[in-house]
């Protein structure tokens, strides 16, 4: 890589020792019935780093609780307001304790105990305003690439995704992991046909078995649903089969050794490259594993990703709550149509205006700039999509855990 990349920038230190690249106030609704109130509380503070997350379900779900726990204690989050209707089953007191134990300011407002919508919105805005003021004075500390976690996902793939943006992200991942960062890829639903190559990259033989099984599980789940991870737009964009789409999607992971397998909410225990398995365990009873790209983005963030590299061929415009999304556009014709929503023009590889290495270097450089505070395009446009649904997972087994680092961690 010839482009110089800053080795150090200022981040936000949290009480648990992790560091963030943003200082967000999270407003979390604990059931859909509290969503409007949460949205109204956050509405006046759109430019002040106040993001809405939440869970719509009224019935208990361990996965959703763990996701919200991780997101509310994410290193990019500085303070948390929980908004409860009052009769939903998500255990709000337990969630408040988890956030408080992480050293963050936290408040819970129960609409049924506060006199209703208007009173809760007023109380919530007053609390959020006080937290914005407090966070403005937060101490900045030096943060390095070894303390950075980056996730990747693709959405709106077409025949160009596997030629330009995805392999360019793969090379950026190789460079980032080489520099000491933690990188997370996922989409086992789009590794059908790539499982043997993936297994050969496992750090241990035991992990190879787990990686192979995670792809087999994804294929079983797809068959049970009646659809693989393949939308009409993929076919219009020239992709014919799931293994063809997989070939392109898989190249986002680069060529490096895979150090471990994690599930949503698992935070990697060391630096390196990790596969995130987002397909539910057990019977295929939760419907589509990912109803859209935003679900996968939230899951990557729950594993500690500070920022997301999102590759798109057809042209997604989404961002995310909590963590910046960098959009890498694979298709030069899409870029011409949607340049106002894209951070990186990877499609220039197709018309000879750059090589994979040029684009990979640009991605890596932009990751460092975004970590240092530069807003991504979706951030500057106010995109803060967030989706969380029902799933269930078994805890990862011993073979999924990474081998310890060869030398003591920094």
């Amino acid at each position: 890589m010839s482009t110089p990349v800053p080795a150090e920038w200022s981040g936000y230190r949290r009480a648990d020792g992790r560091k963030g690249i943003r200082n967000v106030v999270a407003v979390a609704y604990l059931v859909e019935c509290a969503h409007h109130v949460a949205r109204e509380i956050a509405a006046p503070y759109g430019d002040d780093g106040v993001h809405v997350v939440g869970f719509p379900g009224c019935y208990p779900n361990g996965y959703a609780f763990r996701m919200l726990s991780r997101l509310c204690t994410h290193p990019n989050v500085g303070a948390v307001l929980l908004v409860s209707l009052g009769c939903e089953s998500l255990p709000r007191t337990e969630l408040q304790e988890i956030v408080a134990d992480s050293g963050r300011p936290v408040e819970t407002l129960v609409i049924q105990e506060r006199g209703g919508t208007r009173s809760t919105v007023a109380a919530g805005r007053a609390w959020v305003a006080s937290q914005i003021a407090a966070l403005a004075g937060a101490e900045r500390v030096a943060m390095t690439i070894e303390e950075l976690t980056i996730g990747t996902v693709c959405g709106g793939s077409d025949g160009t995704s596997g030629l330009t943006a995805n392999p360019a992200v793969g090379r950026a991942f190789d460079a980032l992991v080489g520099a000491g960062a933690t990188c997370i890829f996922e989409e086992t639903l789009e590794m059908v046909g790539c499982e043997e190559d993936l297994a050969q990259r496992a750090a241990t033989p035991e992990l190879a078995v787990e990686l192979r099984e995670s792809v087999a599980k994804a294929e079983r789940y797809s068959v049970a649903m009646g659809y693989p991870s393949f939308a009409a737009g993929n076919a219009t964009g020239g992709l014919t089969t799931i293994e063809e789409k997989s070939l392109g999607a898989y190249s986002k992971s680069g060529r490096g050794q895979v150090h471990g397998l994690i599930k949503p909410g698992d935070i990697p225990e060391r630096n390196g490259l990790f596969l995130l398995d987002v397909v539910p365990d057990g019977d295929s009873r939760w419907g589509f594993p990912n109803i859209n790209d935003s679900v996968e983005i939230a899951e990557l963030i729950s594993c500690g990703a500070h920022a997301i590299l999102f590759t798109t061929g057809r042209g997604s415009v989404v961002g995310s709550a909590i963590a910046p999304v960098i959009k890498v556009c694979a298709n030069p014709e899409t870029y011409a149509q949607l340049s106002e929503d894209m951070d990186i023009d990877a499609g220039r590889i197709l018309d000879g205006r750059g090589t994979l290495d040029d684009v990979a270097a640009e991605i890596r450089g932009l990751v460092a700039e975004v970590a240092a505070g530069r807003l991504t395009v979706s951030e500057s446009l106010g995109h803060r999509e967030f989706v969380l649904g029902y799933k269930s997972f078994e805890p990862i087994g011993p073979a999924c855990h990474p081998a310890p680092l060869p030398m003591a961690a920094a």
């Binding site: 030629l163 392999p167 059908v192 693989p228 009409a232 076919a235 293994e243 063809e244 014709e333």
Partner: protein, 117 residues
């Protein structure tokens, strides 16, 4: 797993055959039996095929779509970037569009709804 290398990237600029206009496609793997469009083509567009024969497009195709590089027989595996991406369901002529009407998955069959317009 095959991956794009530097020589492939040069190919992405479009192959030129006998001084004709640069072809709008690229062959990603040395032994691939399909090529991939590096820009869109319209119905009636003609350009040189891999063996110098003229390919004429029957319909508009977006960038990223595949054309047969050589004659493909029904039952042949189709290779892209050196990797099998499915099996041909009928004979395909060089230059013909390769997609769901003549190629099926060896893993999971796909039945697609029409994309919303």
């Amino acid at each position: 797993m095959a991956e794009l290398d530097e020589s492939t990237q040069h190919g992405l600029r479009g192959a030129t055959v006998n001084g004709a206009a640069p072809a709008p496609y690229v062959r990603l793997g040395e032994h691939d039996n399909v090529v991939v469009l590096a820009r869109h083509v319209d119905a009636g567009d003609s350009f040189a095929g891999l063996s110098g024969e003229i390919w004429t497009m029957a319909a508009h195709l977006d960038v990223g779509n595949k054309l047969a590089a050589v004659p493909i027989a029904a039952g042949d595996r189709v290779f892209k970037v050196g990797v099998p991406i499915g099996t041909a369901t009928r004979a395909i002529e060089p230059g013909e569009h390769v997609h769901s009407h003549n190629l099926r998955s060896d893993h999971i069959p796909i039945e697609l709804e029409e994309e919303t317009r």
